[in-house]
Subunit: 727 residues, 2 copies
């Protein structure tokens, strides 16, 4: 790695592209000519221009207001300053596309107002951040402000008189770049941190550096405050993505991080093409964009770690897709996403994408099952996405994921038929809604959303993984033991977590099976807990839908609800009902949209069933009333949960047709369970039987295994066997 | 009315169209020719044919199974017999369209199987109905079976040998027609009842009568068992719809009833055009279709009385729209709905509609504000739908609505921005899901969904309207006092309920106002209760969304939930929080999708705020966890609630933009309140003031009124005044 950086430092030392032309960030003089020429030819691109024009035209009709900063996220001054940068960005771009001076004047006049105010500002009064900004409550937003404004300034640079530029640069851009990169120890630390806030900071400083032709700022952005390459944007490319392009904070923040990564990369490509930034680390930025796009269901980024709803249509993913295509135009695969987005980045990249969309026969984006590794070197576990038809199973066995990580080792989430079926709560936050704790992560994000019991995984003794200590959790990661996603009909992934609890190992193997015995792909899930003493294990399934039936009797708390516990997330769960059965299997069926779902599971006399609903100890109504079907296994040292998640039937309320409202699983049985392997048999109600064997150690794919089951020897090669039992 | 019937009786006496040709119900020989000729020309119509063909082709490949009846709704034999009639219907139609004998053979063979089984059947064993069927658990389904099967038989009539027809008619169709019309006193009562079950029964018997050329059956269907016109289909047309085409059971059942009404009308039109059935009662059937279509939001029938989710795409509304257009082809208005439906009734009517859709430039259906009267003579109150832009307010002041009615006098529901905002619960039922109480209305439909507290109206002393006694409730109806929907910017409706509680009158006036002071249309709602003694009034707003803020302090039951009460629906409400304020106004704000909603309301020291969530005393998990903001007014004899429901702002999570998350209402005040009128003033935060005066008696639109308010005389003509106060 160090050699790589050295070559980069040499490259920049010899760089001569310092005589900046304008525009030179996202638009270029040639690009502008082409866009002007293309107007009217690409309706979807025109629409994106029109949208910018709408913002710009509204802006130039309004009075310029640059209020003294006061409010937190969602509040007036916060939203006003955000609006201002959107307006400057729109006006700058429109100035280039139309040549109308009124747009450029707007940017100039607003920048002068900011230049008048900025030197008078202390830290923002709404102190809720460890890194408060001046215009905004946190420096992060200051960086985002600068990214947009740098672009606006670039677009109107040649329009503004030299004397005005001096005022603006001296009183606004240099001070804000200095504040972001070195305004105080905390900001300097963020600027040099391997974290998405650091990426925003280096991008902001780097972009304004390029516009102002300031090599010092650019070099700091690329190589860190000390310009030694140990921090800065290039180093972030080494560290923040795994070799598979996975961002350790999870898909939601990958989406957010991709914005500065891709936009700054485009700027670098325009300004210093000799750096070949898109080739860096074997094309890590393209990998990151592709991995991000794969981390979605129905165009919606999946909910893992701190996450809210975000779709492909968000600006940042539009930017990322357009820039990725522009810089790798022979790869048409992303155009399937661009078509869904329906909007474009109004820039050279956006036009290139719009043109290609018109010119080429576009295939749908190829969603496939993937296993992506976590960690700078790909050695910190990983995350699997198993897909088949309309089903998606996510399987998370990663590292903690920095401050936005959850205590969710080996957690699953499941999507089917276009809907969320087994859910990950995501974040407890009302972004930008001021009355909801200032739009920040609410207290319940920590007390609930991050806790293990909020996830579809096992919690031991009502205590979260790593006792919810991020410092400890961050030292460890789950491991992927083995996986095979080569055969659509039988996809398997197996992970282990050895550190979440002292003396406890947790191993999970999940299989997505398509077989004619089942209407839709099913999930067979083996969760094996190995403990050195007796424990209580809680294993919830957070489901969306309405309960249809259970094969076990329940006692319902119809006249009073109490929380299930007192800490670690349990205080938030109302206990609605409990159940038991004497049978060896239990089945829980619910309906979601026009399909039924059954969770069939092994049980024994120590298995309790708990039905819970979220909402206790929530004084500010910050939680959604989500429901869970939970297995509670008491007095368990070594215990293996085996469950089958099975979509089935049809519930068509419109035509009043109901088909197959019952599970097709007749029986689940563990045939063998030891250190070497777990062998599970399951049968359908129509008498089909299946055998699933999963290795518990020695995961070689070439190992020949001979397993004695009920007096018979079964032989297979590799780490798993799945077959229909025919005789 | 009696003269009208006499003319009909004469008309039929002279009728000569008895020599039945086949097909002659929904298809005609000419229609069949045209459909055959048109294949490939109307892709959407072709698709509907393909869908029937898919069913038919699957049917002819399968073994014919006619199981001995056993299961209730959603169970195997129930669904199988349903499937059978769909298959016969599809095969019959396909036989006509293709001439392939295999389709006709299928219908014949299945009918012969039914003919073999039917005479052996007693009443259905799953006795959960007062009118059990033989093939199905209730006779209603038997009628629906016959409607479909009559069509199938009509299509293959000429194919089946005379000897087979004899067997089928003797052992199946005559017995089933006899069973439905006169199998036992209960069935005979239904057949002659003014109720949608009666319409299904007469339609079924009438249709098979026409196919078999049996004038006796047809006459019974049209004029009742005694053929005196006092009952039967024609009489149902007089009684079941109000003069405005409103079906007293409410929109959900209007949708269900429209099916036999329109299909049988089409059959009558084909068989006895001299009856001019579509002209009957000033075109009541067209009115009914139009009113039904108006009773929807975003293509979804609104939830009032017992109601589940039904869209325009349901088969019955497709049939209704196509038949209405076919028989009134100069009126293109319904084509906007047909375009949304995307499917067609494979029949002469469907082809006519598909052709017209292709030929004409189709305008969107004209949704408008309407006030429709309830009751045979239009004198049983009414229901108002106020619309503006994307907002819809429903205002219900009708009669009870037969067995599917709720105790919901003067209740509102509100839709906006494509979403349900203030909801009516509809029905507690999982139609056709066998494990959910056999698919029937659940116990909670009575204990919760019907009760007054489940609705956005006032409940007095925790007791439902009419003490939830349907017999009493059915004797009375609310009244519309006045309304004006002529001006989109200011739409008003005022209703009164005088009988729901002894000694209490309830009067509600709701106004939808569009004004530049507000981003979206707002609702100003005045609910006046006049009682002869002190009472407790509960006035809930069931909202969909997440609580954002309240202007009042709340005490939250974070560690234990108990039901709000013990009976009349209160036992189902968990009390999550209570609140009070010393201010004269309170505001409750929530967010739904990308918009905020505030309910601003008057209050005083006797006002309590309750936040509830549905789900207590629900042992079978039949209820949804809906949330309410409830006003509780204690010690109230004469009390006027004044509330403003206000959509505002923008919550764009994708672009991370939040605008106007706070209500724009600064103050609400009652300026004057007496027997004659209520005068309300409300002010916005930007200092605009508005005056709303609503008459409480003497509702003449020409009356000149002079009102003294704060020493000033305000004069206006009519029953209300709304104006901005500009002084």
């Amino acid at each position: 790695m160090k050699l790589q950086i050295l070559i980069f430092l040499l490259a920049i030392a010899f760089s001569t592209s310092n005589a900046t032309q304008h525009p030179g960030l996202f638009l270029t003089p040639n690009g502008v000519k082409e866009i002007r020429k293309s107007m009217g030819k690409y309706p979807a691109f025109d629409k994106s221009v029109d949208e910018l024009k709408r913002i710009a035209d509204q802006a130039i009709e309004s009075e310029i207001t640059v209020p003294i900063p006061k409010d937190g996220g969602g509040g007036y001054t916060h939203e006003k300053h955000k609006n201002n940068y959107y307006e400057m960005n729109a006006c700058g771009t429109l100035y280039q596309l139309t040549g109308r001076k009124v747009y450029a004047q707007f940017v100039r006049d607003m920048l002068l107002k900011y230049a008048g105010m900025y030197p008078t500002l202390g830290l923002h009064p709404a102190v809720k951040s460890e890194t408060p900004g001046k215009i905004f409550w946190q420096t992060l937003n200051e960086s985002v402000w600068l990214v947009h404004t740098a672009n606006a300034y670039d677009c109107v640079y040649n329009f503004i008189s030299e004397s005005d530029r001096k005022i603006i640069e001296k009183n606004l851009f240099y001070p804000i770049a200095e504040f972001i990169s070195n305004g105080n120890p905390a900001n300097n630390a963020v600027f040099n941190k391997m974290h998405n806030h650091g990426t925003w900071a280096t991008t902001a400083v780097g972009m304004i550096g390029y516009v102002m032709g300031d090599k010092n700022l650019v070099d700091m952005a690329l190589y860190g405050s000390k310009k030694d390459g140990k921090t800065g944007f290039i180093r972030q490319l080494d560290v923040l993505f795994s070799p598979d392009g996975y961002f350790t904070e999870g898909p939601y923040y990958q989406r957010y991080a991709i914005w500065p990564f891709m936009t700054f990369a485009q700027v670098i490509q325009n300004q210093q093409p000799e750096l070949k930034i898109f080739n860096y680390r074997d094309g890590i930025l393209f990998k990151a964009v592709n991995t991000l796009v794969q981390c979605a269901y129905n165009g919606e980024i999946v909910y893992l770690n701190d996450a809210l709803t975000k779709t492909y249509k968000t600006q940042e993913i539009v930017y990322a897709v357009d820039i990725a295509f522009k810089n790798n135009p022979t790869d048409l695969s992303l155009l399937g996403i661009a078509r869904q987005q329906e909007t474009f980045f109004v820039s050279d990249a956006g036009l290139a994408t719009a043109k290609a969309l018109k010119k080429n026969k576009i295939k749908a984006y190829d969603f496939k099952s993937i296993l992506v590794r976590d960690g700078e070197n790909g050695d910190k576990g990983g995350i699997a996405f198993l897909r088949n038809n309309s089903s998606l199973l996510t399987f998370k066995a990663t590292s903690h994921g920095l401050s936005h990580g959850h205590y969710d080792k080996l957690s699953l989430s499941f999507f089917d038929n276009g809907n969320q079926i087994l859910t990950d709560y995501g974040a407890a936050r009302f972004l930008n809604i001021e009355p909801k704790y200032g739009g920040h992560y609410t207290k319940e994000n920590y007390t609930w959303a991050m806790q293990s019991i909020a996830h579809n995984t096992v919690t031991v003794n009502e205590t979260s993984h790593f006792d919810s200590k991020i410092k400890v959790s961050s030292d460890f990661n789950s491991e992927i033991q083995y996986s095979d996603i080569s055969n659509k009909n039988m996809q398997i992934v197996s992970g282990i977590e050895s550190n979440a609890y002292p003396g406890v190992k947790m191993q999970r193997t999940s299989v997505m099976i398509e077989h004619e015995a089942f209407e839709y792909p099913i999930i067979v899930d083996i969760f094996k807990v190995m403990a050195d003493k007796m424990q209580t294990l809680d294993f919830p399934f957070y489901y969306r839908g309405q309960l249809v039936s259970t094969t076990f009797e329940t006692t319902n708390n119809v006249a009073e609800l109490k929380p299930l516990g007192t800490v670690n997330g349990y205080q938030h769960l109302w206990l609605e009902a409990t159940g038991k059965t004497e049978k060896p299997n239990a089945c829980f069926t619910f309906v979601n949209a026009n399909r039924f779902y059954s969770i069939s599971t092994l049980c024994n006399p120590n298995t309790q069933f708990l039905l819970t609903r979220l909402g206790a100890n929530d004084p500010n109504f910050n939680l959604r009333p989500e429901a869970a079907f939970m297995l509670r296994q008491t007095n368990a040292d070594n215990h293996t949960f085996v469950s089958i998640i099975e979509p089935h039937g049809l519930y068509d309320l419109s035509r009043e047709v109901t088909v197959n409202f019952q599970s097709n699983i007749a029986n689940i049985e563990v045939l063998k369970e030891n250190q070497d392997l777990t062998a599970v048999k399951f049968e359908t109600k129509k008498g089909k039987s299946f055998l699933l064997i999963s290795a518990n150690k020695d995961f070689s794919t070439t190992l020949q295994r001979n397993v004695e089951i009920n007096g018979k020897i079964i032989s297979f090669t590799g780490n798993y066997l799945f077959k229909e039992i025919t005789n």
